[in-house]
């Protein structure tokens, strides 16, 4: 596959990705240097983030799609747009009718956002004093900083309007998948694929999987999917912007979810080469310094995360072994749940299987599948090793983990479909 197949992200998606990573990171860096979060720093960091996006990635919008782009109208396109508009209306209705209320949205992220907004910094007893009730104080802070920055710009805590941030992530996620499929498949098929992903029932359930629930899974899926695709582009084209975007998105992932650090090594490994290390050393050093600042800070914050085993011993390995059938059976059950995914995974896996049977999987598709396989292994390892009761742990998290896999699966299936 030539590099030209890998479309640069739409300009607004790139700007959104860079701004939502750089602005919270600047606020975090400001806190490290003693600068509190307030209206001025929130506005300033957002402005600076937009300037960085423009300076480093401006003009990265791709060439026009090759197939079907000039057709002004088709029934397929109209129906898909209608379906997406209906989905967007549902998500907005859910976002604006009630304040944040799902568990993780309040307990894991909302609490931190309230502290950051009110105290102006994470360097406060609510984060640092182990004696104070502060759920998972060392959990990544990207979303809390975004929410707190939003509150600072607004001048008050508004747990209803803040849900629009999550709507924007859902939209950007779909735009990313659509842009990636537009060139090989044409506008209609790309829109249909984006609509199939975007209208998956779990995004609208009264659950933490809901697109606007305030949980971070769609945001993480956006960063992870974008990081792998940008890494492929950097690898194919040797493109500076691809590499830097990949690094920014990896940073976003590791500042959003704890396992973003382990998973981030995959796109970094895909993107980096001796040549890129020599050519883009300063960019890589800035990324490494930012990542190290968070990883070190996280290490200093109190830890009450309850899904990581404290010790590794024979009893843990025996328990993990006994869980293998439970976890291995849970993945397909979740992927084929019609009330969560409709027929999304049936179709995506069938297309990829057909491509594999006909030996049509090109190397970028194989690399995406490799990234997905590694992701699946990391998640499975967490499920096998976690000290929690496995049934409840799977019930409360597995559907959200499959969201993380969905964007890359859609892209891999779309690219394969073109070759069938």
């Amino acid at each position: 596959m030539s590099g030209s197949r890998l479309a640069p992200f739409p300009a607004w998606v790139t700007a959104f990705a860079v701004a939502t990573v750089v602005a919270p990171f600047l606020l975090f860096a400001g806190n490290l240097l003693g600068l509190p979060l307030g209206r001025a720093t929130a506005g300033g960091s957002l402005l600076l983030a937009v300037l960085v996006a423009h300076a480093r990635f401006g003009g990265a919008a791709g060439p026009a799609p090759e197939r079907g782009a000039r057709r002004p109208w088709s029934w397929t396109r109209g129906l898909c747009l209608l379906l997406l508009a209906f989905a967007a209306a549902t998500a907005l209705l859910q976002a604006l009718s009630l304040p944040l209320y799902h568990w993780d949205a309040l307990v894991l992220y909302g609490f931190k956002a309230k502290v950051l907004f009110s105290a102006g910094t994470f360097r406060t007893p609510a984060f640092l004093d182990k004696g104070i009730v502060s759920p998972n104080a060392n959990y990544p802070l990207l979303i809390p900083y975004l929410e707190a920055g939003f509150y600072a710009l607004l001048g008050r805590v508004d747990e209803r309007l803040v849900r629009l941030i999550f709507f924007a992530y859902w939209l950007a996620y779909l735009a990313l998948v659509h842009a990636e499929l537009r060139r090989p498949l044409g506008e209609d098929a790309a829109l249909a694929a984006a609509a199939l992903l975007g209208t998956a029932p779990l995004f609208f359930r009264d659950d933490a999987t809901q697109a606007v629930s305030g949980s971070v899974d769609v945001a993480f899926a956006f960063y992870w999917t974008g990081a792998v695709l940008a890494a492929l582009r950097a690898r194919e084209d040797g493109d500076r912007r691809g590499l830097e975007l990949c690094l920014v998105l990896v940073l976003g992932g590791l500042f959003t979810k704890p396992h973003g650090l382990a998973l981030g090594l995959i796109p970094v490994g895909l993107a980096l080469s001796r040549r890129s290390l020599r050519a883009h050393g300063p960019s890589i050093a800035v990324f490494a310094a930012a990542a190290a600042a968070w990883v070190w800070t996280r290490h200093l914050l109190p830890d009450n995360v309850d899904y990581v085993p404290r010790t590794v011993g024979a009893s843990m390995l025996t328990a993990a072994w006994s869980r293998v059938p439970v976890v291995a059976g849970a993945w397909p059950r979740e992927l084929f749940r019609r009330d969560h995914w409709g027929l999304f995974w049936v179709l995506a896996l069938a297309v990829i299987a057909a491509g594999a049977a006909r030996r049509r999987l090109t190397s970028p598709i194989r690399r995406i599948l490799l990234a997905l396989g590694a992701q699946l292994l990391v998640y499975t390892a967490v499920y096998l090793a976690a000290p929690n009761e496995i049934g409840g742990f799977l019930d409360s998290t597995l559907s959200r983990m499959t969201i993380h896999l969905s964007g890359l699966a859609a892209v891999a299936a779309g690219w394969t479909f073109e070759l069938l």
């Binding site: 379906l83 694929a193 027929l343």
Partner: protein
């Protein structure tokens, strides 16, 4: 020997079916969202929280009325207080003890602070403040 494969037309048909399944489920989600939006319309955030969490939120709201924002509270209860800590913020909620019978002891040791935990039937229990 060439392998048989489904035509693009067949894939398109499956894709259309998959979109139709999603559309049908989306109509149901929209209906549920509309019902909630109607029930929540015109209510204050507190009233909406009450609608969602029921008695627990009523207890927390009552406690917020009694306890000043600068107060320190000790959590003495076997359950985790995650939602309670969210709604009580900026009041400082400190880990006390998972043993509810230690409440009198905590009150003696921390006069002026509040002791809080879950009581019978999951109701929030609290005592304390300046004597």
């Amino acid at each position: 020997m060439p392998t048989r494969r489904p035509s693009h037309g067949a894939w398109t048909l499956i894709l259309a079916l998959a979109l139709a399944v999603n559309a049908a489920l989306l109509v149901r989600s929209f209906g549920a969202a509309l019902k909630i939006a109607r029930a929540a319309a015109g209510k204050t955030v507190d009233a909406q929280r009450l609608m969602m969490y029921g008695g627990l939120y009523a207890d927390i709201a009552a406690l917020r009325e009694r306890v000043p924002e600068t107060a320190t509270l000790w959590w003495v209860s076997p359950e985790y207080p995650w939602l309670v800590s969210y709604f009580l913020y900026p009041r400082v909620l400190r880990w006390g003890s998972p043993d509810a019978s230690a409440r009198p002891e905590f009150r003696r040791e921390h006069p002026g602070d509040w002791v809080v935990g879950f009581g019978p039937r999951g109701r929030l229990w609290a005592a304390g403040g300046p004597e």
